[in-house]
């Protein structure tokens, strides 16, 4: 991510997949969930669509049959940091591997009209920004992709997408975007409240003893 005097910027060419309900099984199929690592998922992103053969964990991109028609295999979209898609992106399984695969591929922002709840949450914890836009804005952006290679610039602090003369604002809760901007760790934040958790637990053990048996 770049920064300028006004804040952090994600910019560049937008890759797009014109589909609703892209579930996390499509973002990364179950086979790759066998990894016990948190990194190294870039070659398996959208595996079923990116390749014409069946993959296995450990087999790299170079050994696969690439589907040249899939957008992420085409220049310049293979370098995209921004993904544009439609409704309910990331629905389905809770696998955080879906976000890890996007992150490892280099995707820093996903623009969609809505997201699966668990995916949405997982994204902020891994530096991927999910941006919800109105359907008409999504339609507009898809329209632009049909005319040229669409390039956008996203300003995180201002919560704005800049496209030529046009500015599209988006809403995201401050604490969520702060997690991306400052790379905050949730465990550290919560452990500052340690005493409150202990006190709560003590009372609960007394009042609801059956929980603790």
């Amino acid at each position: 991510m770049k920064s300028n005097s006004e804040g952090l910027i994600i910019d560049g060419v937008v890759a797009y997949i014109d589909r609703d309900n892209i579930d996390t099984d499509q973002i990364i199929p179950t086979e790759y969930l066998k990894s016990i690592k948190k990194f190294g998922f870039e070659d398996y992103l959208f595996d079923g669509w990116r390749y014409k053969d069946d993959g296995k964990l450990g087999i790299t991109k170079d050994e696969r049959v690439i589907d040249e028609n899939f957008i992420l295999n085409k220049n310049p979209f293979n370098e995209s940091k921004i993904l544009l898609t439609r409704d309910n992106f990331g629905c389905g399984s809770s696998r955080e591997h879906a976000v890890w695969a996007l992150r490892d591929f280099g995707i820093k922002a996903v623009i969609a009209s809505s997201f699966g709840d668990i995916f949405y949450n997982n994204s902020f914890k891994n530096g991927v920004l999910p941006i919800k836009l109105e359907k008409k804005e999504i339609d507009f952006l898809f329209g632009q992709t049909q005319q040229k290679v669409l390039e956008l610039s996203i300003n995180l602090q201002k919560k704005e997408i800049i496209y030529g003369e046009k500015t599209i604002s988006f809403h995201v809760q401050k604490h969520l975007i702060d997690r991306i901007i400052y790379g905050l760790d949730d465990v550290d934040i919560t452990l500052k409240e340690k005493d409150k958790i202990f006190d709560f637990e003590k009372t609960r053990i007394k009042e609801r003893p059956w929980i603790f048996k």
Binding site: S94, E96, E201
Partner: protein, 467 residues
Amino acid sequence: MKTLYDKLWEEHHVTQLDSGESLLYIDRHYLHEVTSPQAFEGLIKKNLKPWRLNANIATPDHNVPTIRGNNFNSESITDEISKIQVVELDKNCNKFGIKQFDIESNKQGIVHVIGPELGFTIPGMTIVCGDSHTSTHGALGCLAMGIGTSEVEHVLATQCLKVSKLKNMNVRFEGEVNENVSSKDIVLYLIRQIGTAGGTGCAIEFSGSYISSISVEGRMTICNMAIEAGAKVGLIAPDNKTIDYVKSKSFLDEDTFAQAKEYWKTLKSDDDAKFDKEIIIDVSKIKPQVTWGTSPEMVMNYDESIPTVFDTKEENKKNVELARDYMGIENETKLSDLTFDKVFIGSCTNSRIEDLRMAAEIVKGKTIAANISEAIVVPGSGLVKEQAENEGLDKIFTDAGFIWRDPGCSMCLGMNPDQLKPYERCASTSNRNFEGRQGYLGRTHLMSPIMAAYTAINGTIGDPYEI
């Protein structure tokens, strides 16, 4: 004034953080081998231990082969990568002292099946697991939801989850269902009505006369698929049935149980509770439901024609086209015209004893159709398996040509040896018909155990009333 969700939320609310989010105290945390290794790694790196050990219960389910027989252990898994994950769970549970029903245990099973049946899920709890179908446990009046791996680490380390409050949605199912219609059909019908994003951002409470009339197991099937309607949380107020169910599984002493019971009775939405959204569904007209496409919302009555791009609204044409293409559906076709290759009865949606009884009822004394190359029944847990065998269900299935397996997620997802081959068409009681979910290029049709059993015998989808 308060909904059940509001009450459970307040009961577990530890504090509000500066960010505006809340810390919710977590009573029960289930772990399995797929979404936990990176969380344990994080814990170790931070030099932390689980906050409260006895909150955690673990079991391997996703990767385990379902043909195991005797003397099988983690090391016996032939897929080297699957083995690493299962062995890693063993290691982590041993290292930290977490209770695990390991692959050798007769109580091992799908995490959402074993939790309630071993008495670890009881009403009023907050329950999380690194698995989206954690919503299942809501059927017992719990605030239960799926979380990601970072959150698994967070819950291990702090016994809390950092969350914002969801909206309240009420789905009331009223009326009596037709014969051969099960709770699976009801929840699929709901998804057809509201779509896979219909419950996004909501906790859905299921209520109404239909819910009261069905078993706790049937309720689990409904809450299980709340996530397929977009909702992280599905829940049902505990009633006498719930309490009887919990009592039969409980390891609590009499006094503690009696004390808990008084509290559980308070766990319901107030009469004047305000919901952000309310839906009423008359279940008496619902027919058996079967999916035709690659999203659970692509579902319809078993006797309908599959949508074509011509009878689809403009904005959905593309989705329909892609799904038809993937599913190998040509021309104008009815569901009943499709020929099936495999049948899978199992998964955390439909692998409990009641599901197996329903399927066995249909199968009894019959033989699977010639076009079905494989029909498998995979009990959800060691205890379900044992119970079914005591009732002779295994014999009914095997006599009909089904294969009777050991417990696990099995063909619900392509992580273990039970997978579809490319282009195979499967009648499945699981919950997701996503592309490749049951195996590379496999074609999944979701349905109830009754319809799956019928399809096994008949070779195609048909009228389950004629059986």
